[in-house]
């Protein structure tokens, strides 16, 4: 299936592109297209579908008519097949092509393979040639393809409101170049985003040469890489660290969210998982200490988590360093740090015991001093060269936006060229950028959207999407990767490098030749060959940043430490710390108009379409917004008031340094008590229908001095409420056996602890004696009867599909959610519908907190006595994450109840779903214990989301542009049908067919079994930590069979005897028994025991930590083979 194409001859498709896309340019001019922008959709403007319409997309509404007949009334609706006039090289209608490209973001890029259907990129995958990512990709990369087809992207160049032709735009740029060449660029200023593109670097260098007096400044609202200043100070070299988590057995994170917020997170997460994964009890397992103020994904994986204000991290780091190095230089900074000394002592001891195999990581947003200390600790632990390498990077010679601002105020800027970014929205508050920008005579803005900044700019140049562009970039570790166009610019946009080249007045200004020159220069050798290879592999060999050996200069360190003061001011309700974080989905706001990302819930808060002011439960109580429980708390109290299922948040104003923003408050367990966390990237005012007005902008509080956190803030209620679209109403597992956890120590003694949990552990096996004796493969085909009344028909397929999800490595990054959305044409439904609980995601991540307090004594609340734990909100919970999609149950409860056979099993164990047969009784969804079935309550694909309730009166049809992102291999579902995950059945079918075709043509027709790993589900393919494994369980050597054979394998709700094909691998925690916050059992496990066994029993857990397994109900008498729910 996966084939990497050499890009067809650049001269042809790079410069002219496939002929038939011209039609799109014409389309943009048609009134029809203008209507799109006015959210009116003309009926199937067929100018677009170059190839036959069916391969274009499968819009199910087209089958609206009765039982497979054409439109009612007319017997034979006439449709046309439109083949190309001229054959297009390499394009086979019906077969996707794969091209290597990359998604640049700030100082790094993610190498990708783009899947294109007749020239339409529809899905992006990680490029497996780039080993560090191993074919994985990220949430943002998955969603970025949607931006390409954003109907509200900038489609024309404008100058003072009127349209500017491409030619005119070029003249304009050339003109700028000519004018300023004369004066050496005096009065010319550039404000650009950070970039890793070698070509841009080259052009900027030329720019400096040609316009020595011009100002080149770069600005990024959020930093995802450690400041080089720290390294320069302590090592005297311009280097940045690359961490080798796989080699680290003990990891300390100093407010660092290295699993999701750093430029190399994809690589880090993957490496971290390697050290985390435990497949047999001999395997080692890394231990993660985290000290952080917000609750990040990294924090949720922590074995020991210290809730500490970001401003106190410096002192903490100093204290830790002091303990480890015994150096007195840190003492001054560590003063007044208020926490259990054992915490630091034991943590330090643990690190010291792992010299060379430990690692201390500081968050990119922390000041240089913290990084310096971290480097020092790593140095003294002998980690440098082992668990952390330092690579040489180019020095950053750009000036800061603040300096640019000074220049502007000094009136020394006549022409300002804003390349990308969105300063009017996200520049530091004290600069008052909009006014500044207006004060500049000529502002040329080059941007993808016509946004806040464009509104204030005289000229706007429409940028091309990276999938339309020729370009290059570097990965976090410096490997040069190509950015290839998959499609001719839909709206004739140009790229950043082209813009610069035109200002420079270079002879060749087209992206292709610019990149060609750069790369061939870098790569050397026969330029044509080098470049072909570069495009084919999707990377340039041996182009990574060189690893340099560094040695710590004590003097430099002392200087850095001396330059900072201990900042351990006591925080309180009156003196809050505000922590600004890049939003998990919006990043710094650049993805605000991306519906997939807006609807994708935050992995921790589970809020979509909004950001919120996150406060700790304690602060919440002090602010008087503790949600009221019910008289008798039969389940844990929710962390927010839910009125009719939607979170009803209190709106507060957050004030710091005289600046104020207004936003809803959400109580977030696990925060440092007096740190409030606000996510950036929301509150866009000019973004488009999706992004505008979602959430509030926190940039209003942010200054250049304190971009990441600031103290001295206060929260004041406005007395008003607002509804938030929170996709998970209840946060507690209620002591149920959903996520089965154990400590590493327990696991080593008792690897199959998962079988001693759950109702099935009390009962005789569902499989019966016979079934227990069978091999997994036999179980999958025979379907042992067990105690059932019925004999199940055999599953006689040559494959039996199954999936295994390792809860121990899942970091909850949500990449699978959006990957699934992109692959399966899953619609977004909008905030209003999400609030009603109608989100359509086929795979979701359940996030649970546990504090060991859930108990069955609900009545205690009523009849006095000590109140039950149910009425308490946890301040310092453990987090458990669980991805849930349709588990393809062998004895599927949903199938039994469907009256029309719309969902039945196939012989390969798939729980299929025939949309065209479904009449929408929703009975299946009721009977699904996992609640993974999704119902199309409205025509989400056909009607604008803001007029769903208008019924037939609402405008009908999807913008052609949005249709283009749909996967032609998957039906687009209409109103009134149920949908759900089918293990990407389209990939399975195409995989099988491709294999059969191959073998038949190779004369081995009887070889019909697809080799393991050829077929990957979308969620599996994207997963950075490889926790999702899918394959054929008939093959005992397949990855999935191996995973399922592990002791920690269990079926969720296995006692129901529904025999899910997706099973989970139990979660492990690796706490240090010497630490003050050590718990002998995972807290969720304690809750499980409290709920399921007598009180005295549960209390005994604390006392006998050494053999906790036996405590969980003494079910030593379970059948040896008793797999929960049987299938493994």
């Amino acid at each position: 299936m996966k084939r990497k194409f050499d890009h067809s001859a650049p001269s042809e498709s790079a410069l002219t592109g496939p002929r038939y896309w011209r039609s799109l340019d014409e389309l943009t001019a048609t009134p029809g297209f203008q209507q799109h922008l006015a959210r009116e959709f003309p009926e199937g403007a067929s100018t677009l579908d170059g190839v036959d319409r069916r391969s274009f997309m499968k819009l199910m509404a087209a089958s609206f008519a009765l039982g497979g007949l054409g439109l009612a009334g007319c017997r034979r609706p006439e449709k046309n097949i439109l083949p190309f006039g001229k054959s297009v090289e390499g394009v086979i209608p019906g077969l996707p092509q794969y091209f290597a490209t990359a998604m640049p973001l700030r100082k790094s890029a993610i190498p990708l393979l783009a899947e294109t259907h007749q020239g339409r990129p529809t899905k992006l995958e990680g490029n497996p040639t780039y080993a560090p990512h191993g074919g994985a990709s990220s949430l943002l990369a998955q969603a970025s393809v949607l931006d390409l087809y954003d109907p509200e992207r900038a489609t024309v160049n404008t100058s003072k409101g009127d349209v500017l032709s491409a030619a005119a735009a070029n003249d304009l740029l050339a003109g700028v170049g000519k004018t300023y060449a004369a004066v050496q660029g005096a009065g010319l200023a550039f404000l650009a985003e950070q970039s890793s593109s070698p070509t841009r670097a080259r052009l900027v260098a030329q720019l400096r040469a040609k316009f020595p007096k011009a100002v080149w400044s770069e600005y990024e609202p959020v930093s995802d890489e450690p400041p080089t200043t720290a390294a320069r100070a302590v090592f005297g070299a311009v280097v940045k660290p690359i961490y080798r988590f796989a080699k680290a057995e003990r990891i300390v994170s100093l407010d660092a969210d290295f699993l999701s917020a750093e430029s190399a997170s994809l690589y880090y997460a993957r490496e971290f998982a390697k050290g985390r994964r435990v497949t047999k009890k001999e395997d080692p397992m890394n231990r993660l200490y985290v000290a952080e103020s917000a609750l990040t994904l990294t924090g949720s994986m922590a074995d020991h988590r210290l809730r500490l204000a970001s401003s106190h991290i410096l002192s903490f780091a100093a204290a830790l360093a002091g303990k480890i190095t015994g150096d007195a230089v840190y003492a001054r900074l560590a003063e007044g740090l208020d926490l259990k000394p054992e915490w630091i002592a034991e943590c330090a001891a643990d690190l010291a015991a792992h010299k060379g195999s430990s690692l201390v990581v500081a968050g990119a947003h922390q000041p240089a001093a913290v990084h310096a200390i971290a480097y020092a600790i790593n140095a003294s632990l002998g980690n440098i060269g082992r668990t952390v390498d330092f690579v040489e990077v180019a020095a950053d010679e750009s000036v800061s936006i603040s300096d640019l601002a000074k220049a502007i105020t000094a009136n020394s800027v006549k022409t300002l060229v804003v390349l990308g970014g969105n300063p009017a929205y996200n520049a530091p508050a004290e600069l008052n950028w909009p006014a500044l920008q207006k004060s500049v005579g000529e502002v040329i803005r080059f941007g993808y959207h016509s946004d806040e900044t464009s509104a204030l700019a005289g000229t706007h140049l429409a940028a091309a999407h990276y999938l339309e562009s020729w370009g290059d970039a570097r990965t976090a570790d410096g490997v040069v990767v190509p950015v290839q166009p998959m499609i001719l610019p839909l709206f004739g946009g140009i790229t950043e490098i082209e813009t610069l080249a035109r200002i420079l007045g270079l002879p060749k200004t087209d992206g292709y030749s610019l990149v060609f020159d750069t790369v061939t220069a870098l790569g050397g050798g026969d330029s044509a060959k080098t470049f072909r290879r570069f495009l084919h592999d999707g990377l340039l060999a041996n182009s990574a940043y060189p690893i340099v050996s560094v040695n710590l200069s004590g003097r430099g360190l002392a200087q850095v430490l001396g330059s900072v003061a201990p900042a351990v001011g006591a925080l309180s309700q009156a003196n809050l710390e505000v922590r600004f974080v890049a939003d998990h989905t919006m990043d710094d706001g650049r993805f605000a108009n991306n519906g997939w990302l807006q609807e994708c819930p935050d992995p921790i808060t589970k809020i979509s379409w909004d950001n919120a002011i996150l406060v700790s439960p304690r602060l919440g109580k002090e602010l008087g917004i503790e949600p009221k429980g019910s008289l008798i708390q039969v389940a844990r109290k929710e962390e927010a008031d839910f009125t009719q299922g939607a979170e009803n948040a209190h709106v507060f104003t957050l004030t710091v340094g005289g600046r104020t923003v207004r936003g809803p408050v959400h109580i977030q367990p696990g925060l440092s008590n007096y740190t409030v966390v606000v996510a950036l990237g929301y509150g866009r005012t000019k973004s488009g229908h999706v992004g505008t007005g979602a959430g509030f902008s926190a940039y209003g509080l942010r200054t250049a001095q304190a971009p990441a956190f600031v103290t001295g803030a206060t929260l004041v209620t406005t007395g008003t409420r607002m509804k938030l679209a929170n996709t998970q109403e209840h946060w507690s597992m209620e002591g149920r056996d959903l996520i089965r956890e154990a400590n590493y120590s327990e696991y080593k003694e008792n690897p199959d602890y998962v079988r001693e949990m759950g109702i099935e552990s009390h009962a005789p096996s569902n499989l019966g004696k016979v079934g227990e004796a069978m091999t997994p493969a036999q179980r999958a085909t025979e379907i042992p009867r067990g105690g059932s009344l019925y004999e199940t028909p055999k599953f006689d397929g040559v494959h039996q599909w199954g999936m295994s999800i390792d809860l121990n490595t899942c970091i909850g990054c949500n990449a699978c959610v959006v990957a699934c959305q992109a692959e399966n044409n899953i619609p977004i439904v909008g905030k209003d519908q999400v609030m009603r609980g109608r989100e359509m995601h086929w795979i979701r991540l359940d996030r649970y907190y546990s504090d060991g307090k859930a108990d069955g004594r609900a009545m205690a609340d009523l009849f006095g006595g000590e109140p039950s734990g149910n009425s308490i909100l946890p301040e310092d919970p453990q987090i458990s994450l669980q991805p849930i999609a349709c588990a393809q149950c062998e004895l599927a409860p949903c199938e039994i109840v469907c009256p029309v056979n719309a969902t039945v099993h196939d012989d390969e164990g798939l729980n299929t779903m025939a949309y065209n047969r479904c009449i929408g009784t929703r009975y299946c969804a009721n009977n699904c214990p996992y609640k993974v079935r999704r119902f199309n309550f409205f025509d989400y694909n056909l009607r604008p989301l803001d007029s769903l309730y208008l019924g037939q009166l609402a405008p009908k049809g999807m913008p052609e542009l949005v249709k283009m992102v749909k996967n032609p291999e998957v039906t687009v579902r209409m109103r009134g049908v149920m949908e759900k995950c089918t293990y990407c059945v389209q990939r399975i079918q195409n995989g099988k067919i491709q294999h059969k075709v191959k073998t038949a043509q190779a004369g081995r027709p009887s070889d019909v079994v697809v080799p393991d790993g050829v077929i990957k589900t979308a969620c599996q393919q994207v997963c950075p930590v490889e926790s999702i494994v899918f394959g054929n369980i008939l093959d005992p050597k397949s990855e999935v069979s191996v995973a399922k054979a592990r002791e920690q394998d269990y079926a969720l709700l296995g006692y129901l005897n529904i025999r899910p094909r997706t099973t989970y691998l139990g979660k492990l925690r690796n706490p240090n028994s010497k630490m003050p916050d050590y718990a002998a059992l995972p807290l969720s496990r304690i809750e499980y025991n409290n709920k399921n066994h007598s009180g005295d029993h549960s209390s005994s857990h604390g006392e006998k930590p050494e053999k906790p397994a036996k405590q969980s109900g003494g079910h030593s008498s379970v059948l040896p083979g008793n797999r929960s729910g049987g299938l493994s």
């Binding site: 499968k58 087209a62 017997r75 006439e78 046309n80 001229k86 086979i92 047969r917 089918t982 079918q989």
Partner: protein, 217 residues
Amino acid sequence: MSKIFPKSANSLPLQIIIYLVVLIGIATAGVTYYMTPKYTRIGYAPVQPVPFSHEKHVSELGMDCRFCHSNVEKSGHSNVPTSQTCMNCHNQIKTSSPLLAPVRESYASGDSVPWVWIHKTPDYAYFNHAAHVNRGVSCVECHGKINEMEVVAHNQSLSMGFCLECHRNPETRVRDPKDVYDLNSQTIAAKAGVEAGVKFVHDWKIKPPQSCSGCHR
């Protein structure tokens, strides 16, 4: 008394029943005729922009299906040839035939020739040509004797029932792989008896899907 109901009234109920029966019969027939592919599709032979004769090209000139439908073996879609494909020959022969004007224009301008789409399955049904032609299912099974058609006509209902019938007993339908594109060839069963067909199905591990996932996604 009882003027309302004359003697004749006694036969009234019987008549009503007869009328009803007839009415229902007509309704059923109507639905079957107007709503089932068996009648809506079969025999559909629209006028094409270019009167292309498969009869001439295949039977007389002996061209292979794959000459024009070049991707049928590789792709799920059997591609309709581009104008370029036509011109490969027709820039030598019949270069000035008025009938071919649309093709020449298309080749010149690059715009498509609007061929009328005949063999149409619903959008939610995913038929894959490669999977069939590579595994012993001949074109003729679904398209009929195209090679003898002056004007292409819809030959089979292509309804789900039609697909299932073959998927349920492939042994009677499979052909020797080298006969697949020979529309006059016989099925293995017809040549050497059903046992041979059964053997072929067994050797090739042919197991046509009968559950939803086979065709619906």
